[in-house]
């Protein structure tokens, strides 16, 4: 190979490398601009069927018939109860109580008279039925047997 040819080849190689280098820089700049503008573009894109708001999904999670976020029994009226009964107090104030239909209605009236609870309209029947069905009094006597005993060996 003549010196001239060798020189040409070298220039061509250099030229190619320069083009490649500039190309990478230009592409990187574009990519960077794209990432800045679209911060989620690098995350793994899920299947179409999974495109849901995860917060909502967790809020709706039901396990073994219990609505996980609130602890309420999953039954007819759950939505109305969550919407109307957990704004001011937690669900725990409901789920630790047991009342008859009459008792739940009286509690709602008391909250309306003294605690700023709104008129429940046609939801009242749905809510009262839900509560009286799922949080009804258990039959118990004048004194229960001791339950949930955690046995352990006492060393002294």
């Amino acid at each position: 190979m003549s010196f001239e040819n060798k020189f040409k080849t070298q220039v061509q190689k250099l030229y190619q490398r320069l083009i490649l280098g500039f190309g990478i820089i230009v592409l990187s700049v574009f990519a960077l601009i794209y990432i800045v503008l679209n911060p989620y573009s690098l995350q793994k894109s899920p299947d179409e069927s999974e495109i849901v708001d995860i917060t909502t999904e967790q809020e709706d999670l039901i396990e073994n018939g219990i609505h996980i976020a609130t602890g309420f029994v999953d039954a007819n009226g759950l939505t109305e109860v969550i919407q109307n009964c957990t704004n001011c107090h937690s669900a725990k104030l409901v789920t630790q109580n047991r009342m008859t239909k009459e008792g739940w209605v009286a509690t709602i009236r008391w909250m309306q008279e003294t605690q700023n609870l709104w008129d429940l309209g046609k939801n009242e029947e749905i809510i009262v039925n839900y509560l009286a069905t799922n949080y009804a009094p258990d039959k118990k006597g004048r004194r229960d047997i001791l339950t949930d005993i955690d046995w352990y060996t006492l060393e002294e």
Partner: protein, 407 residues
């Protein structure tokens, strides 16, 4: 813009609004993660409570102890029950805290700064029993509505402050005074500033007792936030709701105070006994004053297994509202026979008393229950079954029971 991006961006914006600041690197928050500032706080850390305490309610906060957690002679904060009717006040400024005394039976209302109260009046410290009126509610049948307290809504800490009577006498009040009612900085659950979550009080006679304090310290330190920082009214031996937290105003009334939770069925029981489940009209409900005689076995924890022939040492506390506990007994045969416990005198009036016994007469191997019952200075004992049913499930002083196995 696709749905996913729309949702994530709106939630980021709303998160930023809630926090009152931009979330730097917000786009890098993994999905489903809530910033710590917005998570449900850990109540045990938030209030410095032992993790064995039971959370009954998180809005409003209601937390109770278990019997064995109350073994200390002086209850420390980590084992003290929390009973709130509303939301804990936000942004308390103790430096500029004031207490206003007003009402029909005051000629001219007066405002004291917290510093004035501390510097002008003599300080007193008493160990005082505070028990929630609804302690034991969970056992009533038919069930009563409200937080389902078991046995742990009671405490006996040292409270330091000035006597309410010294302050009331400094200001002067008319001879027609009947009751005092407190007002406080807590927030109604509906966040309506016009409404008070709770505003109760006591008759003048109780208000003027030596042990009724305007307290600023609990167990020698500033009162913890959940227990009324920076100023709490303490009326030991009465339903703990009479001991208003975050107090900023006291009204001297010429009638029975009619604030929130003084009227209707709140902290009231039927004036005359009723059958379980019976309807009672508001006019026939009477305000609870002194709490009844009661006791707790705080050692050992229920469920202890001991070897045949070994003695079982038990101990606990007993209290009787305005009265003193006269004697203390235990039974291991379901109340057939009773045996005396050693019982100490209270360190001061309205403090709980400590009892102990050594049980070495388990006749054979098997399952036992140790029952404890206290008798007050007027001869009234704790019942073994539930006491008189009442619509709101107050005043359950049935004897405490623990399970024991002898092997």
């Amino acid at each position: 813009m696709n749905r996913r991006r729309f949702i994530s961006q709106t939630s980021l914006t709303s998160l930023a609004t809630l926090l009152g600041a931009d979330i730097v690197f917000g786009h890098k928050i993994p999905e489903g993660y809530t910033p710590i500032a917005l998570q449900d706080p850990d109540p045990f850390k938030l209030f410095n409570k032992d993790t064995e305490m039971s959370i009954l309610n998180n809005k409003p906060w209601n937390i109770e102890a278990k019997a064995h957690l109350l073994d200390e002679k002086i209850t420390s904060n980590k084992y003290m029950f929390v009973r709130n009717n509303g939301l804990i006040p936000e942004n308390i400024d103790a430096k500029n805290w004031t207490l206003t005394i007003d009402g029909e039976s005051v000629s001219k209302s007066k405002t004291y700064t917290l510093e004035e109260l501390k510097s002008k009046f003599q300080h007193y410290t008493y160990q005082l029993t505070l028990e929630c009126g609804g302690n034991g509610r969970s056992e009533f049948n038919p069930p009563a509505k409200g937080n389902q307290w078991t046995v742990g809504a009671v405490s006996c800490a040292n409270w330091t402050g000035v006597r309410l009577k010294d302050v009331l006498q400094d200001l002067g009040f008319k001879s027609n005074a009947v009751y005092i009612g407190y007002h406080a900085a807590d927030i109604h659950l509906s966040r309506n500033p016009e409404k008070e979550p709770i505003s109760r009080g006591v008759p003048m006679e109780k208000a003027l007792q030596d042990e009724t304090l305007l307290a600023f310290q609990m167990n020698g330190k500033d009162i913890p936030l959940a227990h009324g920082y920076p100023l709490r009214l303490i009326a030991g031996g009465w339903p703990a709701s009479a001991s208003g937290k975050w107090v900023n105003r006291i009204s001297i009334r010429d009638k029975v105070h009619d604030g929130a939770k003084m009227t209707g069925t709140s902290y009231r029981v039927p004036c005359e006994p009723v059958a379980p489940g019976e309807k009672v009209v508001d006019e026939d409900m009477c305000i609870i004053e002194s709490m009844p005689v009661k006791s707790l076995i705080t050692y050992p924890k229920s469920g202890a297994i001991i070897k045949k022939g070994k003695a079982l040492n038990i101990r606990g506390h007993a209290w009787a509202g305005e009265l003193e506990v006269q004697n203390m007994e235990y039974s291991i045969d379901f109340g057939s026979t009773w045996h005396s416990c050693a019982l100490q005198k209270p360190v001061n009036r309205l403090a709980w008393q400590h009892f102990s016994a050594s049980i070495d007469h388990f006749p054979k191997k098997g399952y036992y229950e140790v029952w404890a019952r206290a008798k007050d200075s007027r001869g009234k004992s704790q019942p073994m079954l539930l006491p008189g049913w009442n619509p709101k499930g107050y005043l359950n002083n049935a004897c405490h029971r623990i399970a024991i196995k002898v092997t």
